[in-house]
Symmetry: C2
Subunit: 345 residues, 2 copies
DNA sequence: CTGTTAGCGCCTTCAC
DNA sequence: GTGAAGGCGCTAACAG
């Protein structure tokens, strides 16, 4: 049977309250003698406080819920890991769940977390759980996404639009004008913003940015593979492109870019000589692909740290003002953009 | 303020117990009329049961703790994800934490989980938490590792030794005899077993398997990169190898193999023509490397399913007999072993 | 069929 | 400096 606080009290010859005083260093003092006897008894019996009972009484579980569409994606995986580490360091535990981007599941899991009285909630990008959906939640919420027009939660948001534009700009500086775009489903906010960033930057240079240059793809290697085959195929190229094949690809995520590189390899298309590639993410995989990816790196540790700090501040004091942070990525030059081949970058 | 069960009871004009009966479909029946009024009140007030109170009373949190050394490693990441999915499907939530292979952290996190009264524990390979360490734990435990000589927990274990031998055997069948080995720290059980598998298979064919052929490396791309540079360097090659460079590498994990491929690329060593590579894992990354990895694939979904099933069986009935399952991987032929170049495989 | 009640283990105010 | 007691919200045994 499990040993309870009363058992310790009995063993130490004190009352249960004193056990609490000693173990929690307060809120009342205890004599040195009582303290010693309690600690001895704790040791002897191997007593461990029941965190569930404590949570019920104290109204805090020291747990944060983390909802993400897909931890298999290295970006979300790394973000989740960084968040977890941060929370652990602060004495919190993370309850995590994958939603697979499926809205009913998202809601169900959100409810589950709330029922379990998590102290706070973190919603990563790629979910539909932003703005109004979260209104009913009592706990503080942090979203790694655009919070929409609603200010009910704090947010730490990658600058998807600007970062995408920066990636495209880099390709343009290499002299490319026919730059195609591989991107995830546009119902996901971050993907829509990256697509818009690509389009805006193309138009800024007065370059064509029609739909024939866009391939929507699953956020996976396989998705990138298929998209690249589509965009680079010599068959059925739209008349609007005057028979030209894109000379560069902007790819909205590293994981898709890995698939793109593979497709190019299979098709005998050289990267970056025949087609240059720039992607977004900056995950570990990007640094060890062949050739290495030029990518706009998001610092997940920074995202996680600022996000967790703000969330825990809100947990400690719900009256803390909301914050909305936007974080720029930075271009990490690899081998896929062409900088290392011809010195035009 | 949060709405409690008593509020619902008051609103519905019944007693709190009846609310429980209705919401839990038992343990006692309720009249159709009472049921309707309760459900109305629940709806109207937006009542959600407090899972913490329920857990305290019922003695079950419907939560499982998962301890892993490093979720950044695609293999553990995929395993964790599969486990999480399994548990969610059964109405459980997963509490997860990374130990970074650091024993004090492992113990601390284990304690934290136990304090929180998880219903069960899952320990992935790569931790030191096997056997006796877990004796003090009351909850059922499942380890994805060798449980040691101690039968206090159930286990689902990849056949590291046999799988490693199979990988080496495949290289041997391609005519290689000087097969080096890249492997993680031997204090980790799975790594030690893979190393032993390599050695046993080499000796089986009467081939040299000395320590000069082994490079211990961090379980990361960078680790594989460094190990490959060491083993393939033309400088300082041990006299015992008669000046020969290994013609093949057995790499104990995909993530290291990605680094190995990159090092080969950098060194101008062609894979598989100059050096053949076979690794272990079978993660998604292996299928999209250039060239694609020949690897011994572990079916993480199968591991997770059988593991979770057994654990939840133990949770439901602690008297369920322990089980110890060993699971073979299967060789997935890619392009790094040489099968696709010369038809000798 | 329904209501009342005794805890689950802990924290903390209040009385000594 | 210490002990007794109430209650966090819920479940289930026990009485009606």
């Amino acid at each position: 049977m499990v040993v309870t606080r009363s058992d310790v009290a009995r063993e130490a010859g004190v009352s249960p309250a004193v056990v609490s005083y000693v173990l929690n260093n307060g809120p009342r003092p205890a004599s040195a003698q009582a303290r010693a006897r309690v600690l001895d008894a704790v040791q002897k019996l191997g007593y461990r406080p029941n965190a569930i009972a404590s949570a019920l009484r104290a109204g805090s579980t020291r747990t944060v819920g983390f909802l993400t569409p897909n931890r298999g994606n290295p970006f979300f995986g790394a973000l989740a890991e960084a968040v977890e580490q941060n929370l652990n360091d602060q004495g919190y535990l993370m309850l995590a769940a994958n939603t697979h981007g499926y809205q009913p599941d998202e809601l169900k899991l959100l409810r589950t977390f709330v029922d379990r009285r998590v102290d706070g909630l973190i919603i990563s990008g790629g979910t539909t759980l932003v703005g109004p959906t979260l209104q009913e939640v009592e706990q503080p919420v942090l979203v790694f996404d655009d919070p929409g027009s609603w200010a009910g939660c704090s947010s730490v948001q990658p600058e998807d639009h600007l970062d995408a534009a920066a990636a495209v700009d880099h390709l343009q500086n290499h002299g490319h004008d026919l730059i195609a775009c591989v991107v995830g489903p546009p119902r996901i906010g971050s993907e829509a913003r990256r697509l818009a960033g690509w389009r805006a930057q193309q138009r800024l240079r007065g370059v064509y940015a029609g739909d024939e240059l866009v391939a929507f793809a699953d956020q996976s290697e396989a998705g990138g593979d298929q998209a690249a085959r589509l965009l680079l195929s010599d068959h059925g190229r739209p008349a609007t492109l005057h028979g030209r094949r894109p000379t560069a690809l902007f790819v909205a995520s590293d994981v898709q870019a890995i698939g793109v590189l593979w497709a190019c390899h299979e098709l005998g298309v050289r990267v970056p000589e025949d087609v240059a590639v720039v992607s977004m993410g900056g995950t570990r995989a990007a640094a060890y692909s062949i050739p290495t990816l030029t990518t706009v790196r998001q610092d997940v540790v920074y995202l996680a740290t600022t996000g967790c700090t703000q969330l825990l501040r809100l947990v400690a004091d719900p009256l803390t003002p909301q914050t909305h942070l936007r974080v720029r990525g930075n271009l990490v030059v690899g081998q896929t953009c062409g900088c290392t081949v011809a010195g035009s970058g």
